[in-house]
Symmetry: C2
Subunit: 422 residues, 2 copies
Amino acid sequence: MSDATAAVCCSEILTIGDEILRGDVVNENAAHIGRALAEAGVPARFSSVIPDDLEAITEAIRQALARAQVIVVTGGLGPTPDDLTRDAVASCFGFPLVEDAALLTHVRELFRQRGMAMPETSRNQALFPVGARQIPNAHGTATGIHVICDGRHLFALPGVAIEMRQMTDEYVKPAVQAAFADAQVRTRTLRLSGIGESHLLEQLGDQTEVSALVRIAYLPHHGLLDLRLTALSPDEYEAAAQIAFAEGFIRERVGGHVYATGSTSLAEVIGNILMNRCQKLATAESCTGGLVADMLTNVPGASRWFERGWITYSNPSKNEDLNVPGGMLDEHGAVSESVARAMAEGARHRAGTDWALSCTGIAGPTGGSAEKPVGTVWIAVAAEGGVWARHLKFSGLRETIKLRTAHAALSFLYQHLLETRA
Amino acid sequence: MSDATAAVCCSEILTIGDEILRGDVVNENAAHIGRALAEAGVPARFSSVIPDDLEAITEAIRQALARAQVIVVTGGLGPTPDDLTRDAVASCFGFPLVEDAALLTHVRELFRQRGMAMPETSRNQALFPVGARQIPNAHGTATGIHVICDGRHLFALPGVAIEMRQMTDEYVKPAVQAAFADAQVRTRTLRLSGIGESHLLEQLGDQTEVSALVRIAYLPHHGLLDLRLTALSPDEYEAAAQIAFAEGFIRERVGGHVYATGSTSLAEVIGNILMNRCQKLATAESCTGGLVADMLTNVPGASRWFERGWITYSNPSKNEDLNVPGGMLDEHGAVSESVARAMAEGARHRAGTDWALSCTGIAGPTGGSAEKPVGTVWIAVAAEGGVWARHLKFSGLRETIKLRTAHAALSFLYQHLLETRA
């Protein structure tokens, strides 16, 4: 790392755990912490995963302290013998580990609330490095550790997602914001649907003028695309102007594809439109198997605009629950334009909703044919004004095809919601 | 890193991209590569995320080459200006980057197949470091890079998941297995449901005998728990015996909780049981909003045992689609034992299946009350022999409550499938 990069205020994330290195667990914790640190204005410059090994953890913390102002460690605070973060932090700063009476009471109380006696193995949850600050853990027994030393902040959090998230959001992020208030970096994310990376670059054309002011990162997500803009100026007001210029440049060229800014999901945007119009939606899924409804119902308050859904995996269910004619299924097959349309119309009729969205396709790996290979998909939208269908062709693994189909279906619904202004 | 650890044959994963550091994208790629490397017998000892910065990438590759025998880099091979991995690899090994005529034809052909002309920005996809081997990319324009130098192997793959996965599985993993055939590490994963980490430790009791032979990692996943056993002996036969001893030790104490070994999911186990018995399943979901059906339909061939599902988000849908009596909904509320039972019975009856699984609850953040707070959940299973219900209480964010409910529902169904031997 050069002196130039070290001079910029930055953070570093250390995730502890063999399970992450082996890929048994996907590192969602680092993503959550990364977002919080970016939003707090001290973005991560480096992120690493360290095995459950005292020497490796201690060495990683030492290295991180040498190049970052904020270090967030997650994992290794639990009660099992491979939980070594507490010892590594104590060793790095030369703090003794002592049993804390108040923490012991807290741990006992948590077990009591769950109707259990505290296992003796959990007693180490009350050990805490003298000289560090405690980060309260509302959901579990592992108390977080906050050390301030030479203007650097180290936070050690448990690896259990709900505990780590709550402690990051309620303690780490405000503490970093307060300590590095002057380091805010201006960033903005534009979220696009219906355009790929290569053709976006073509539509944008010559970016010389923009790239002198902002840095653009291209983040594709299975058919959706995010553009993350980061202003180059360290000055707050100049940075805001740079972002505004770049956003104007992009919207002028591909504005029709921008469905949101920030972290708002396509499902949320759809939900907001429906809620504002007092309209309701039903879904009828075959190949996505509930994934579209799952995405929609991840939006808090979805019950105000999502009425119901069907997963009509078999032909009889398409016929019985959605009134898709048996003869149509025989003649065209379940993966066909007519069946996609009939599913959407049937769902809208049966649910009595303003809108219905359907998908039917072959997610694979089996079930394909020469005429309809794996990845063949039909989606349809039904509303008062008509029924629209689209044919899609995807490649990839079963879960990828499900995901791309679900994103394409939501994009298709969004487009028709926009075209049918209330 | 000590000499002792450097002497062990190990690998290292470098993920390139600001989007991962900022948490815009979860690092699923590193998990996939980590699994492949562990299975190939050269587990990752270190994994890091590097910004889109030529100097940082080059430095990270140099460091990795100094401590690992296998380095897998993912990301930064695309056509955009922030794709810098190709340049970093060329610079590390002193290889010139030259336009490869065959690669250019390949890139043009891929665009032609999609009915598009190759954008000029994608021409850099044909640049390749002279002296490296090409890793074919069936799904995209970025060719992977394989360098062998001083007995070390570096693989650079694109960050697009489907491309990275196919290249990891079909090229990297076999190449690593072939090059490090004598380094196989014996590992085994036992997957448990219905038991937490603390109480598992209590049930296991004194582990001295086992821990002299194997290392055990505890991997909780929202109510499910994996135990990863790694044999300590470098000898293949001795390692197999160590794993067998540890597995016997664990099964003797908590065998009733072990639903699978390896990477088999609970949904797959359920599907296999149903398929072997020629039985079918239907689902009726409220608070999980399709997540249970999504998990079940992620299993290839699910259509042979999954008949259909309902997402009855509204009260009218519970009544109309599942015959839940309106009076019951009024009297007990949608989140109640009687409604969970009626949903499962209604789904089984309407779908004509052997089994039905239901869940109803309050996922939050709104909708809770003093009597029924957020996280209150009822699940039920219906079969020929009866209907069983269970009350659950979770805390956490909306998506966490959905996930824990779905896992608990699958565990509950699994338990009743076992108790009702065909």
